[in-house]
């Protein structure tokens, strides 16, 4: 154990920004539910009506958790935030554990430190303590911000403590995962899989087989019934399970060699498939996991929004915020609501599009492009491959988001025509999304060092969508968001003119970016 303190000091220093962002993010996740619920429903009667319609919706129960006291602010917060909060705590713990254990071991930095007079268990113990502290911070911020908002103190504390303990459990499973695999990536895959299974078990359990929820740490967290008859004992299960997984991680650690894992790394193909050897083939191979991940994510997102069905009128309530932002001041509640959801899905897809457009830049930064461009591959062909993947991937991701939205809406309401009516409009936002990634490409071509600024375009579009009206932003600022110019289908009729103009703008940005890239130094 010698040196644990030193390690912990270094880790805490290196992690302070991670702490800050995760802490703020998760606290906002909880408090914003209270804030939005209180803003959404003008009267308790309205709230009761919305709660009744949520309780009866199996899709929502599967997504969020068991429906309890949904006609109260605290009940809503617990329902909407607990499962996702637990996932966030799990992911944060996984990244903290991974980056200080397996990632260090893989890079060889750990070896350097271990050669110093430190105990064998010191780095691992410090990483464990680091993640435990981070989860305590998360719990304190959640409990504190909910209590400060004015919710019952004991129940707020319950949500905070439960979150901390759930995060501890996932810290333990991540610690086991990094012992089993030799690469950090594979460890994240394994630890992330555990979180996914925990979420999935409780989803099935909450809808149809309650016993399954008792196999999931997220289920244990939700079983404390915060704001609906708080009870503490389920957290004992979490605590015992946490001790057990941490102990097994230590046991595996003691039996394995430095640098090795328990699961052998899988060998890959000794030869490349013929189509790998082209700009497009390579770009597709490199971006395939990312495209797949976003496609699945947005399909699920679409399914989730669509599952709200045509009862959204009750859910949305009648406050001025909901009328202005969610419904665009229209009386057509269902169409207005889905017009907004469609823009939101398109904005999520823009996240993929921008990160995909920035991929060539990280390839360049990592020094992988030089040997490629020293072959017969031209700069245009190399970048063109990535551009093709970005554009096709964007269309694919939007199409799947739309398909998910339309299909689940159709299943919930029995209105088969909704599949097309809701899925096609999502695709109509492709030009706006491509304008944002075109901007990323232009920055990569002209000023690669500051290419990450492309994300500001997405930030602006979000702010304009969510607060454009309520903050009273000036017209010219709102017009900077490409999404503002497109028709709000299905609320409004589709218009060709802005669609075509934005397509041209996106193409112009992209071509200019590629032209600039061809003429500049590689770095």
């Amino acid at each position: 154990m010698t040196g644990t303190g030193t390690f912990l000091g270094i880790f805490l220093r290196r992690d302070r920004w991670i702490y800050l962002w995760w802490g703020i993010g998760v606290a906002v996740l909880y408090v914003s539910q209270a804030w939005s619920v209180d803003g959404l429903y003008a009267t308790q009667a309205e709230f009761d009506k919305a709660a009744a319609s949520m309780e009866g919706n199996a899709a929502l129960v599967a997504m969020a958790g068991p429906a309890r006291a949904l006609n109260s602010t605290g009940g809503q917060v617990t329902w909407q935030a607990a499962a996702f909060g637990a996932i966030c705590a799990g992911l944060m713990s996984m990244f903290i554990v991974g980056r200080h254990t397996r990632a260090e071991e893989e890079s060889g930095r750990d070896e350097l430190l271990r050669a110093a007079p430190v105990g064998r268990h010191a780095p691992m113990t410090a990483a464990l303590l680091d993640a435990l502290i981070a989860n305590v911070l998360l719990g304190v911020l959640v409990a504190g911000s909910l209590a400060a908002y004015g919710l019952a103190v004991a129940d707020s504390l319950g949500l905070g403590v439960g979150l901390t303990l759930t995060g501890w459990f996932f810290t333990g499973t991540a610690l086991v995962a990094v012992q089993l695999t030799t690469s950090t990536r594979a460890a994240y895959g394994l630890a992330g899989g555990v979180i996914g299974v925990a979420y999935g078990l409780r989803a099935i359990g909450d809808v149809s087989a309650p016993v399954l929820s008792w196999l999931s740490p997220i289920g244990w967290y939700q079983a404390i019934h915060a704001f609906s008859g708080l009870r503490w004992w389920p957290l004992l299960v979490t605590a015992v399970a946490t001790v057990a997984v941490v102990a097994s991680a230590v046991a595996v650690f003691d039996r394995r060699d430095f640098g090795s894992g328990v699961l052998p790394p899988r060998p890959g193909p000794a030869r490349a498939e013929p189509r790998l050897a082209s700009g497009l083939g390579l770009a597709w191979r490199l971006q395939r996991p990312v495209v797949t991940g976003w496609a699945i994510g947005l399909l699920l997102g679409g399914l989730g929004f669509g599952a709200l069905g045509d009862g959204v009128g009750d859910l949305v309530g009648d406050s001025s915020y909901s009328r202005d932002v969610l419904l665009h001041g229209t009386a057509d509640v269902v169409d207005g609501f889905y017009a907004t959801m469609i823009v939101m899905l398109a904005l999520l897809a823009a996240g993929f599009s921008i990160s995909s457009a920035l991929r060539p830049r990280s390839e360049e930064d990592d020094g992988r492009v030089e040997p490629l461009l020293a072959t017969g591959l031209t700069r245009s062909a190399w970048l063109g491959g990535h551009v093709a993947v970005t554009v096709a991937g964007t269309v694919l991701v939007l199409a799947l988001a739309g398909l998910g939205l339309g299909t689940s809406y159709a299943l919930v309401t029995g209105d088969a025509g909704a599949v097309l009516r809701l899925s096609v409009p999502v695709l109509s936002y492709a030009p706006a999304v491509l304008v944002l990634s075109g901007l990323a490409r232009l920055l990569h071509g002209v000023a690669p060092r500051v290419a990450v600024l492309a994300w500001l375009g997405l930030l602006l579009a979000w702010v304009v969508l969510l607060f454009g009206g309520s903050l009273g932003l000036p017209r010219w600022l709102r017009d900077l968001s490409p999404f503002e110019h497109l028709a709000l289908v299905p609320l409004e009729d589709f218009r060709w003119a802005p669609f075509l103009v934005l397509t041209l703008v996106a193409a112009a940005l992209s071509v200019a970016g590629r032209f600039a890239f061809r003429r500049r130094d590689l770095h």
Binding site: E106, T182, S183, R185, P265, P267, G268, P269, A270, R271, A272, P274, L276, A277, S278, L282, R285, L286, P289, D366, G367, R368, E370, P371, L372, L373, A374, T375, G376, L377, T378, R379, A381, R519, R520, D521, L522
Partner: protein
């Protein structure tokens, strides 16, 4: 093959290359030497069309490497000093990828090289050590059918056994009349492999020629036991650092001025004599330290 004249390349306020000249002829292994930061890698990047020259004239196979990059690249193979592989592609896939992008690779040689370098092609990029990453790039380069190899410190991560495999491969490559530009810090490697050498410092070439020619530019050190005390050694042309201790003498002499020194020593009666020919290291140190 390679013809560079008065090449200038700057990055912001820094002038990385300041009027560099470099000529590499067909069929030779050309050593490219210089301290860290002298501009070796920058020169190679300009030569590969990855960087754009500010001024000067650069010809590769008689053409402009910036404008005709892809066409010229089909005729050469490049191994960078720092090989970064894609974490999720295997070594075998990367070899095929680079080889095919170059216009195809020799299957027999690929298999042969994998065996000689003892490289496992089924490992993912993240699983390779520095030396093994370098082997991946070397196998890809050496199994391509090209006229020119451009190697930027290609053996910095290889063990001595693999270095010797590498040397054999370069010898075979040369014996087929093909050309190599080898940037290196390992002087033994350069002495063993290179026909001609160019030394650069601070972005300009300070020396170029065959090793034999370059040796003439430096000094031989001589120690001798003499029968009688020598005199007049200091006044001979090209003699430096003379130390006389009774009948023992130690001195350094420019390699072109050996004869008069030997005559003078002979007149004093030579009992024993050791002479040390200049090594590349002396040459190197003399040029580098001169800054």
């Amino acid at each position: 093959m390679i013809e560079i004249q008065r090449l200038v390349k700057g990055f912001g306020a820094v002038r990385a290359l300041d009027g560099l000249d470099l000529t590499v002829q067909q069929g030779e292994v050309h050593g490219f030497l210089g301290p860290n930061g002298a501009g070796k890698s920058t020169t190679i990047r300009v030569l590969l069309g990855l960087l754009r020259k500010d001024a000067g004239d650069v010809r590769l196979f008689g053409k402009d490497p910036w404008r005709d990059a892809a066409e010229l690249h089909a005729r050469l193979a490049y191994v960078p000093g720092d090989v970064n592989l894609w974490p999720n592609l295997t070594g075998g896939e990367v070899i095929d990828l680079l080889g095919r992008l170059r216009g195809g690779l020799d299957e027999r040689r690929r298999a042969d090289l994998l065996e000689r370098f003892e490289l496992d092609p089924t490992k993912k990029g993240r699983g390779y050590s520095k030396g093994n990453r370098q082997k991946v790039a070397l196998v890809a380069a050496l199994s391509s059918d090209v006229e020119l190899l451009v190697l930027d410190e290609p053996t910095s991560g290889l063990d001595p056994l693999m270095e010797s495999v590498f040397r054999d491969c370069v010898d075979e490559f040369r014996s087929e009349g093909r050309t190599v530009l080898l940037s290196s810090h390992i002087l033994a490697e350069v002495e063993r492999l290179c026909d001609r050498v160019s030394i650069i410092r601070a972005g300009t070439r300070v020396e170029s020629g065959t090793l034999a020619e370059l040796r003439h530019l430096t000094r031989t050190s001589i120690s001798a036991d003499l029968a009688s005390a020598p005199d007049g050694l200091e006044s001979l042309p090209g003699v430096h650092d003379v130390e006389v201790d009774g009948h023992r003498v130690h001195l350094e002499v420019d390699s072109t001025q050996l004869d008069p020194v030997l005559s003078a020593l002979q007149r004093a009666g030579v009992l024993s004599l050791t002479s040390q020919p200049p090594t590349l290291e002396d040459l190197f140190l003399r040029h580098y330290a001169a800054s």
